[in-house]
């Protein structure tokens, strides 16, 4: 009896150890993925800068991006970064104010019944695939813009920007609302006790108290907008240029990668390799946004009991 018990105990210890290690292995896989991303991007970018046509100085210094057309190729990444930023800024101008007001409304004004209907609607908005927004931009927003002003071409930054704005709206709204709702009740009660109206309480007390969370939600949404691919591939066009005009056709970093991988460039060529370098730049920018957002959340969070 005792023998069997001892054996089962040893078996249990071993299986316990095995399970523990395999779970550790699973969690280590995510570290491995990060490692793979860094290695792949670094290695392929290194190969890209090994081509004769390319130099690091030109890549980060030149404002000409002309990788495909024959003749002299130019690899200055700024037009792509500029296009990405233009689209992102348009999206932010659209999504951040509306998202924040909707969040304030949901958290401070709306009754439980209104919230119960509006929140799922926003969740549906968040679950729609981005290619659907791209289709919407192309077939609904662009014609609308063209009817307002003929300056808008068939592909333009504005249309893609608005579609991305709609896409990130639920992210801004739900993350900001979380931040607003985590402000403790006592702060609101205090403000009301001092005679504040609902407006005073929400704008002068609750929003400032939740500011770190709101800013973090903005940054997270912006990083989503920068990395968004399908909308810009459908609606923003394919001309890499330095411009701030919203009706202009621009190419973003992600749209360039799509163009390359759709087969416009021969494999093993310099154009193909350039997409890895662009991906590395994209990765660094979005990582920067994520890290800054996380830092703000940690550093400037007001601690309440």
């Amino acid at each position: 009896m005792s023998f069997g018990r001892a054996r089962s105990r040893r078996w249990r210890d071993w299986s316990e150890r095995g399970i523990r290690w395999s779970l550790f292995g699973a969690s280590f896989f995510s570290v491995f993925v990060t490692f793979a991303i860094l290695v792949v991007l670094a290695r392929e970018s290194y190969l890209f800068f090994g081509f004769d046509q390319v130099s690091i100085v030109e890549f980060f210094g030149s404002t000409e991006w002309n990788p495909l057309l024959g003749g002299t190729q130019h690899f200055g990444v700024w037009p792509l970064v500029c296009g990405t930023m233009l689209v992102t800024v348009i999206a932010a101008c659209f999504a951040l104010p509306i998202g924040l007001t909707a969040a304030v409304y949901l958290s401070e004004y709306a009754g439980p019944k209104t919230r119960a209907t509006l929140k799922p609607a926003l969740e549906v908005l968040a679950g729609i695939p981005t290619v659907v927004y791209g289709f919407f931009a192309l077939t609904a927003i662009t014609p609308l813009l063209q009817s307002i002003s003929p300056r808008f071409g068939n592909y333009n930054a504005m249309s893609a920007g608005i579609a991305i704005g709609i896409m990130i709206l639920p992210i801004v709204c739900s993350l900001s609302e979380d931040a607003l709702r985590s402000v403790p009740r006592s702060l609101r009660d205090g403000a009301y006790a001092l005679g504040g109206t609902k407006f005073d309480v929400s704008v002068k007390v609750v929003v400032p108290a939740a500011l770190s969370g709101i800013v973090a939600s903005f940054l997270l949404a912006m990083s989503r907008a920068i990395g968004e691919t399908m909308i810009v591939a459908l609606a923003a066009g394919g001309i890499a240029q330095m411009t701030a005009e919203p009706w202009a056709e621009v190419q973003t970093m992600t749209a360039y990668m799509v163009q390359i991988f759709l087969g416009d460039a021969p494999a093993n060529g310099v154009e193909y390799a350039s997409s890895y370098a662009v991906a590395a730049v994209l990765f660094c920018i979005t990582l920067g946004f994520t890290l800054v957002g996380r830092y703000i959340l940690k550093r400037f969070r007001e601690e309440y009991e």
């Binding site: 523990r20 679950g127 659907v132 609904a140 591939a233 991988f261 021969p266 990765f283 996380r294």
Partner: protein, 433 residues
């Protein structure tokens, strides 16, 4: 001496201030209402315009036809099954890995630097754009870092065969099966004929490697010139001795025979393999696609599972440990059953993200016109969002109606997924605290 009535002054001042503040309060309320309504209106405008445009194309034939250059004969059978295969592989690989990670981090891991680093790392992975995962999938799964030979050497991979593309004298695109070409004695495994035509590649890209030998009989695929989908196979006769491929922009092909059996009909995949057969590297197969999507949704699965586990009250754990159970027994008997509804909800929402993801798969394999349902792990595929992208990007409005129809199908699937998630959240979640 008449002193102004103090209360009167204060009262008046407060009254004015109060009126102003009441006004600003009301204005702000309206502002908020308009903002929120605008957000909801946008959603309805979007759904309504798509529904209006696409409703007519959702018919039974729409589900039973493959994609075609003729809009009225087009359907989503290929992408639909592609989505099913890819998402199944994604779920099978991502869910155990993600849930295992969450269990380790929440239940087993000591609170030390390594655990903190892994947590931070997962947060950062969640912020990586999906197209970057596509590039990683392309390099790591589709090509395996170039470690297993040659998926990327020849220009086009169709089905199981590698093809080089040339432009014939007549401007036709000609694809030459690589197995027909002696690559320094290093023959690529012979495959079956291609089932697929890649839509975008009309320009020939000669790969810079082995020469075409003189008078070789090669099997080629001809793009038919009448604008239909079909490719013809033909036996071609290569002239121009040992043309270096890098210079053979227009190698002259003497078409000696067009095999009538295959003429004017899609060549279907005929490899007889079991569904699990795998070859290295994965190429742009359903397996590579599923694993790439696994990378995309893994952080989402991990984070939502962690939250579900965190919501389990620690009294349950303490009770289990006090009764002498090991950590794993505690997880198996107490924590996991309590957290399963939350984990399932997160998993379903993550899968609905995987279904809608197009960018990484676009990077992985480009867009393919698929004329066959995937049959095994190495089959070529396309998915619903990619098909939508392709149709939406065309100038003809008849294709836009198809895209809208496919979007309707996609949204219905997502709605079902979300509905299941909400149902699980409502019904199965017990209040344990």
């Amino acid at each position: 001496m008449t002193t102004p009535n103090l209360t009167e002054i204060v009262g008046r001042g407060t009254l004015r201030g109060n009126a102003r503040r009441a006004l600003s309060n009301r204005v702000f309320l309206w502002f908020c209402l308009v903002g929120t309504t605008l957000a909801i209106l946008v959603l309805f405008a979007l759904l309504f315009s798509i529904f209006l445009e696409g409703w007519s194309s959702v018919t039974w034939n729409f589900f039973d036809n493959f994609a075609s250059r003729n809009p009225s004969a087009s359907g989503i059978k290929g992408p639909l099954w592609g989505s099913v295969w890819v998402c199944a592989i994604c779920a099978i690989s991502a869910l155990p890995l993600g849930i295992g990670t969450a269990i380790y981090l929440e239940e087993f891991a000591p609170r030390n630097r390594v655990t903190g680093f892994i947590n931070l790392n997962i947060m950062n992975l969640a912020g990586v754009p999906s197209i970057v995962y596509g590039i990683i999938g392309l390099t790591a799964f589709a090509r395996m870092f170039g470690g297993f030979g040659s998926a990327s050497d020849p220009t086009v991979l169709l089905g199981y065969s590698y093809y080089d593309e040339y432009e014939s004298m007549e401007g036709e695109v000609v694809r030459v099966k690589v197995s027909a070409i002696d690559r320094d004695g290093d023959r690529v495994e012979d495959g079956v004929q291609a089932s697929l035509a890649r839509w975008n590649i009309w320009v020939a890209h000669p790969a810079p490697r082995a020469p075409l030998l003189n008078n070789t009989q090669v099997e080629v695929l001809l793009d038919s010139d009448d604008g239909s989908d079909e490719w013809r196979t033909a036996i071609a006769h290569v002239e121009g001795s040992s043309v270096e491929r890098s210079t053979a922009q227009s190698a002259s092909f003497d078409i000696v025979e067009v095999s009538a059996a295959n003429a004017m009909k899609p060549i279907t995949q005929s490899r007889e393999d079991s569904w699990w057969s795998v070859s290295l590297p994965f190429g742009s197969s359903v397996l590579a696609g599923g694993l790439t999507l696994m990378l995309v949704i893994l952080p989402v699965v991990i984070i939502s599972s962690q939250e579900a586990l965190r919501a389990v009250p620690s009294s349950l754990r303490q009770g289990a440990l006090a009764l002498g159970s090991t950590r794993w027994q505690m997880v198996r008997e107490m924590t996991l059953p309590a957290a399963i509804p939350g984990i399932m909800t997160g998993a379903i929402l993550a899968m609905s993200r995987a279904i809608g993801e197009a960018a990484p798969l676009l990077v992985l394999g480009g867009f393919l016109l698929v004329f066959a349902v995937p049959e095994n792990l190495m089959s070529d595929f396309t998915v619903l969002p990619l098909q939508i992208y392709n149709w939406a990007g065309r100038p003809q409005t008849s294709f836009h109606a198809l895209a809208a129809g496919a979007i309707i199908v996609q949204l219905v699937v997502l709605l079902v997924f979300n509905g299941i998630a909400v149902f699980i959240r409502q019904k199965l979640q017990k209040n344990l605290s």
